[in-house]
């Protein structure tokens, strides 16, 4: 089954997965048409997505698991990939935990990491 990948300006992606529960699909539509209709409604009702580039790809083409979901990046026509260089809030949090667990934590480093977390705006 296809999903629609929306490519956001910051490189991250949103992925719309169709609702394939039994009994919802209009008889006159194929599964693919039903999915596309749902994607179009998503665009219609979500202005933040409406103007973004997108691709309809097979769900199996997405990364196999969502462990690195917030590192998923994509460009239209090139699919979705995992960018290990993306720094997430959890990464900073782990650095802070590590520093605090050290025998002699560096107070300046701790404060900087705390400030980073405090002001973190991404994921």
């Amino acid at each position: 089954m296809k999903c629609r990948v929306w490519y956001r300006a910051d490189g991250s992606v949103s992925v719309s997965h169709p609702d394939m529960r039994l009994g919802l699909k209009p008889k006159e539509l194929t599964m693919a048409q039903w999915a596309e209709q749902q994607f179009n409604i998503v665009a219609e009702k979500n202005p933040e997505l409406a103007n973004l580039d997108f691709d309809d790809i097979e769900q199996s083409s997405l990364p196999a698991d969502k462990v690195d979901r917030d590192r998923w990046r994509g460009v239209k026509g090139q699919g979705v990939m995992i960018d290990k260089n993306v720094i997430l809030r959890n990464d900073i949090s782990e650095l802070l935990d590590d520093e605090l667990a050290a025998i002699a934590p560096d107070p300046v480093k701790v404060i900087k990491l705390q400030r980073q977390l405090w002001h973190w705006k991404g994921k």
């Binding site: 999903c3 929306w6 991250s12 949103s14 719309s16 997965h17 994607f39 998503v42 979500n46």
Partner: protein, 273 residues
Amino acid sequence: MALFPTSKRNFPSRANGEDAFDASDINNLNTELRAVIDYLGVVSKAQNIGLNDLLLNYRQVVAISVTTGDTVSCPAQRMIIDQRMCANTAAITRDLTEDIPSPSTGTTYYVYAVDSNVPAGTFTIKFRTSSANNFVGERKIGSVTTATTGSPPDIVNITDDDATTAIDSKLIKAWCTFNGTGTPAYLDSFNFSGAITDNGVGDYTLTIDTDFANANYSAAINVMGEVDARVAVGQIKPTILPLVGSIRIMVNEATAGSALDLAWVSVILIGDQ
């Protein structure tokens, strides 16, 4: 035929309807089942009685149509539309629509199903709302399904299959539970369907089938935590205001604030449609 004692025409209109009248009222009416739909569109059944007299109590109604299911044939049955104090009374047969002329705001109207031996079937009640003397839509507000002749069920269903107007701002207009792990998927829903958009870990956009009238609806979001018992919370996505046709929500660990994908996320929306 005395369908309804005059002294009983002013039944209180209650949202839950359960205590709107007592057993003696029912006996006096010689009915087997009464359903009450007040102006809020709340339907209830008073007692475990059969479907013989269906009472609908609502306000600002200008038209009522009653149809039976395709497989039901009971031409002898009738529905009576009765405005309080008998200002306007009209009888309709099944499958016909009767418009009440010059309806009055705040007036209570009653609908009675009369005669006995109402057969198995679904009885659908619709009404129209008015605006500046123009009908703006027809809406099914409730239905009663009988199981067998003389043995109807206890449940009166509220149906909401017309998107033009709302029944009641107090009713839940949309709810769902979904699994946010892996490929997000609804477990069950009402007025939520279509694609779930995965914006990242614990970050989902849900699309509402029938839009709200405005984006000031109320949202309740709840989640079931993980196996390691970390406390998790659901919330509207910070800085992303809900829209009339969609809502973006977040699931986070309560203490650290980290986003989480959880297997059970529930959302309830209430507001004007």
